[in-house]
């Protein structure tokens, strides 16, 4: 299975993950400060800054796009409960 690497800057941890893994599946396991509310892409609690590698994430769904817009999320921010790592390297930190 293709692999990808995601780094959580706030806790200094890089994790090798299977391609297709969502950030939410990893961040709590390593104790990152990314926090969650609804876990369904609606509340925007898990807004996360993509420090680098944004192109290695699946493009946001229409719903995620709308939630980001409604919450006036800055550029290069995603919902950790939705963002899927497709490959390569991604570096993130809590928004």
């Amino acid at each position: 299975m293709p692999k990808a690497k995601v780094t959580f800057e706030d806790v200094g941890v890089s994790v090798t993950v299977p391609a297709g893994t969502r950030l939410i599946e990893v961040s709590e396991k390593v104790g990152s400060g990314i926090i969650y509310g609804c876990r369904e892409g609606e509340c925007c609690t898990c807004l996360t800054k993509i420090v680098s590698g944004a192109e290695n994430l699946a493009v946001p769904s229409i719903l995620e796009d709308q939630v980001l817009k409604d919450n006036m999320a800055p550029r290069r921010h995603r919902l950790a409960c939705q963002a899927q790592i497709l490959g390569g390297e991604v570096v993130v930190r809590p928004a």
Partner: protein
């Protein structure tokens, strides 16, 4: 409550500005978590301009809506209403909205960007399509003809959707829930209702305190304005010395340790111990954490205080470690009492950890960690469970846990490379 003084008519707040709210003197419990000894009010307002009439917020549904419409009809006709402003969509302020929209279908609704989804959810049961609405943010305006409504984006006070609306020419600020309180008095104005400070502060503590960073943002937006009257959505209308209430909000929301400990991170270690084993773990953990420069550690035995005191401490802390023995497969009750008392402060993103001695099965540590994650703390270091009496090596593990927590607090962590399969 002074009931006799209030009529069914709207009450003038300023020329062309009327209170059209409703009183609920018999309410004793609000949103389950708040008590009130004399009820509350649902304040709504009408502003008349040369080219239109604005209704600012509505009231709870039921008999309160009847009062609202009766008062509204005493100062405006439905066909005159051009503008409906929703500063906050919680049902106690939006209950009469569906009916108002039926009676004034031509009116355009103005609300914050984050309120849009809530508006649709609120109107679901009526089966009607949402009204024409405009999402607004700071400095967007509506011209009523000689009168201008200017919006202020003040989210999370106390929902994501909240905003304030400033009537520029009159210096009147319609604030939604901020500066409000559950205090019911038909005399309506702060200079006429007597002393209601207890209610004002109680409301802040239970509703606004968890959002104090947002309170400070809002206060900073409001302070430069010429404020002659604050019109909140609950409780007395603040026309006498309104800036006093603004100042008080700033005082209440300002972090207490701002000046004395900004250069240090605070780690609080709470514990309970039946036979002294979890206490020894707590002391070793604290000593380990204290060995890292830039961390101030304090130890507290939960048997020696109650949740209120510890809540204050927790609000100002950066990290929290909880030690509990396992008794009958669970952490002990004072831990759960404390962890269920923290809704009045913002603990999101603080560092959390758990530890404890056990004699048999040792579930407490994992249960506490799960609860900490549920409360949106980050738990970067796995907790420590030790069977019965910790020996020297085990106390060293406790020290190491403390050092690791302190490194996380101060950002002195060594980079680690992991594989998801190994941590799943």
């Amino acid at each position: 409550m002074a009931v006799a003084a209030l009529t069914d008519l709207a009450v003038e707040v300023a020329p062309g500005v009327h209170w059209v709210g409703a009183l609920d003197p018999h309410l004793r419990s609000f949103d389950i978590i708040l008590k009130t000894a004399n009820g509350t009010s649902y304040n709504a307002y009408v502003v008349r301009g040369e080219n239109g009439v604005a209704v600012i917020d509505t009231v709870k549904e039921g008999g309160f809506a009847d009062d609202f419409f009766r008062r509204l009809e005493s100062v405006a006709r439905y066909e005159e209403i051009t503008t409906i402003v929703l500063n906050h969509l919680e049902p106690d302020h939006s209950g009469a909205l569906p009916e108002l929209l039926r009676r004034a279908p031509q009116a355009r609704v103005y609300l914050s960007t984050r309120a849009q989804m809530m508006l649709k959810a609120l109107l679901k049961p009526s089966g009607e399509k949402p009204p024409e609405y405009t999402p607004v943010t700071t400095d967007d305006t509506v011209d009523l003809g000689g009168r201008t409504l200017r919006f202020l984006h003040t989210p999370y006070l106390h929902w994501p959707d909240t905003q304030c609306t400033y009537l520029e020419e009159d210096g009147i600020l319609f604030t939604g829930d901020i500066f409000g309180c559950h205090f019911c008095d038909a005399r309506l104005f702060n200079d006429r209702v007597g002393d209601f400070r207890f209610s004002f502060e109680y409301y802040y503590t239970h509703i606004m305190r968890p959002f104090r960073e947002y309170v400070l943002d809002a206060v900073a937006l409001i302070e430069p304005l010429d404020i002659r009257l604050i019109a909140p959505a609950h409780g007395p209308i603040l026309r006498h010395m309104p800036r006093d209430y603004l100042r008080r909000y700033r005082e209440l929301a300002t972090p207490r340790l701002f000046n004395e400990a900004r250069s240090e991170k605070t780690l609080l270690v709470f514990y309970l111990s039946a036979y002294g084993n979890t206490r020894r773990m707590a002391e070793a953990l604290a000593a380990g954490a204290e060995s890292i420069p830039g961390v101030r550690v304090s130890l507290y035995d939960l048997e020696g205080g109650d949740a209120d005191i510890f809540t204050d401490l927790i609000e100002e802390a950066d990290g929290l470690a909880f030690g509990s023995p396992t008794i009958n497969g669970d952490a002990v009750k004072p831990i759960w009492d404390l962890l269920s008392s923290l809704t009045s402060v913002n603990i999101k993103g603080k560092l959390g950890a758990a530890f404890g001695s056990y004699g048999w099965s040792g579930e407490a540590v994992r249960l506490i960690e799960d609860r900490l994650r549920g409360l949106k703390l980050r738990v970067p270091v796995e907790g420590l469970r030790l069977k019965l009496v910790p020996d020297a090596d085990e106390l060293e593990q406790c020290r190491n846990l403390g050092e690791s927590l302190a490194r996380h607090l101060t950002g002195r962590i060594e980079h680690r490379e992991l594989d998801l399969a190994a941590i799943a």
